[in-house]
């Protein structure tokens, strides 16, 4: 049986510079060291983020992924988006409009939601032959 851990939402401070980033990282550390951490960072209050702040976010993401978890961002302000783009890291994070959307994205797709019918393209190719036979 697979038991999924809850998703933890944390609010980032208004200013994310070297000092506040280190403080925030200390708070987040126990969670990052757990098995499969699932974290959403709410950026709605962030007004200023500098290189150290972005570095901290990357460090958290790396830690979470090392333990088979993930870290996602939500409610990113245009100002923060500009900085993330400027530092070329905007593609690294999954970003959601709201924390609900971010939490929902952690849920695995239930098996019953996946169609058991043949895919739409099956008719186009006929019966798929084993690779060796086909070649």
């Amino acid at each position: 049986m697979l038991i999924t851990k809850p998703v933890v939402i944390m609010e980032l401070p208004e200013t994310l510079n070297r000092e506040t980033a280190q403080k925030f990282l200390l708070e987040l550390q126990p969670l990052l060291e757990s098995h499969r951490p699932r974290i959403v960072l709410d950026c709605s209050h962030v007004h200023y983020i500098d290189g150290s702040g972005v570095e901290m976010l990357l460090q958290c993401l790396e830690e979470a992924m090392k333990r088979d978890g993930d870290l996602k961002l939500c409610a990113v302000s245009p100002e923060s988006e500009v900085i993330l783009e400027f530092l070329r890291v905007e593609r690294v994070f999954e970003v959601f409009l709201t924390s609900e959307d971010a939490v929902r994205s952690f849920s695995a797709i239930p098996a019953e939601a996946v169609s058991q019918d043949a895919p739409f393209y099956a008719g186009l190719f006929g019966e798929v032959q084993p690779l060796k036979q086909a070649s």
Partner: protein, 296 residues
């Protein structure tokens, strides 16, 4: 204006811009700028002075919009209309360009009274007009210039089609400049950089290792750090304006962007003969930015 046969040009500046006088004076070596409390009062004095040597027509231009104006055509129109004042217009409305019959202006009038007293003839500008009302317009002017949509041309030489490089600019052999682009005087493009999509890097700028500048303007004396992505933006010292999101940021981290202080000092020691985009306050409201041309 000189090419059109205008034989006396006076530049006037309000004293509120005096902090920038070094930059402006450098740009105007041929026509030193005269500073006064109020440029309009200065213009009145100049207009009166023009009456004495018999200068019959004066062009009055407020440095606001960029206009591709044909002065001879405007002059002919003015003479044909037989009005005291002719004002240039385009489809968006009046422009701050007037042609004034110097001889018919009374001694007592100041220039603003003259302009409001006489119903002006309306001269329709057929050429390119950019009202430079904000940073978006500044960027549009650069793009239009690099794409030859107006008469403004980048300074320096066209080292290959569409790439304009001004004197003393350095480009590392591993950097890539995709035309059209402009590199200003003494600018430095470091290893692995990419300058692309109508970007202009103005004088005394440094773009550091691996940074991409795409569809952006880097204004004079700015440093852009290592491995950054500047897209759809204007950088002025430590200010970054993203035009797509309309967001202006003042970045405190000097490793990212900053005013290029050392080179600025060098620049002030030189007698600049070039025009460079300069000191465009990205936080200023529409029309309040002070742009200067990196183009001639």
């Amino acid at each position: 204006m000189l090419r059109a046969g205008v034989n006396a040009i006076t530049l006037l500046g309000d004293s509120c811009y005096a902090p920038f006088r070094d930059d402006v004076d450098q740009a105007a070596t041929s026509f030193p700028l005269k500073w006064g409390d109020d440029a309009w009062l200065g213009a009145t004095r100049i207009l009166r002075r023009h009456k004495e040597p018999g200068i019959d027509v004066t062009f009055l231009v407020r440095a606001a919009a960029y206009v591709d104006l044909d002065p001879l055509d405007a002059l002919q129109f003015h003479r044909g209309q037989q009005q005291v004042v002719t004002r240039a217009f385009n489809e968006e409305g009046p422009l701050d360009i007037w042609v004034i019959d110097t001889a018919r202006v009374t001694e007592s009038d100041d220039i603003l009274a003259t302009l409001s007293e006489y119903e002006p003839a309306q001269y329709a500008v057929r050429g390119y007009v950019n009202r430079l009302e904000g940073p978006h317009d500044l960027r549009r002017l650069v793009v239009d210039s690099l794409n030859s949509r107006c008469r403004l041309r980048p300074q320096g030489s066209e080292t290959r089609p569409g790439v304009w490089v001004d004197e003393g600019a350095q480009v590392h052999r591993t950097a890539r400049i995709v035309p059209p682009a402009f590199l200003g005087r003494k600018s430095k493009i470091e290893e692995q950089c990419l300058i692309t999509r109508c970007s202009n890097v103005e004088s005394n700028c440094q773009i550091d290792y691996g940074t991409v500048v795409e569809d952006s303007s880097i204004l004079s004396n700015s440093y852009v750090g290592i491995g950054l992505d500047v897209s759809h933006s204007i950088v002025n010292g430590n200010q970054l304006l993203n035009l797509e999101r309309d967001v202006t940021l003042e970045i405190q981290d000097p490793g990212m962007i900053r005013r290029n202080a050392i080179q600025l000092k060098e620049a002030n020691l030189q007698s600049a003969d070039a025009f460079g985009w300069e000191e465009f306050d990205l936080c200023a409201g529409p029309g309040r930015g002070k742009a200067r041309a990196g183009f001639r």
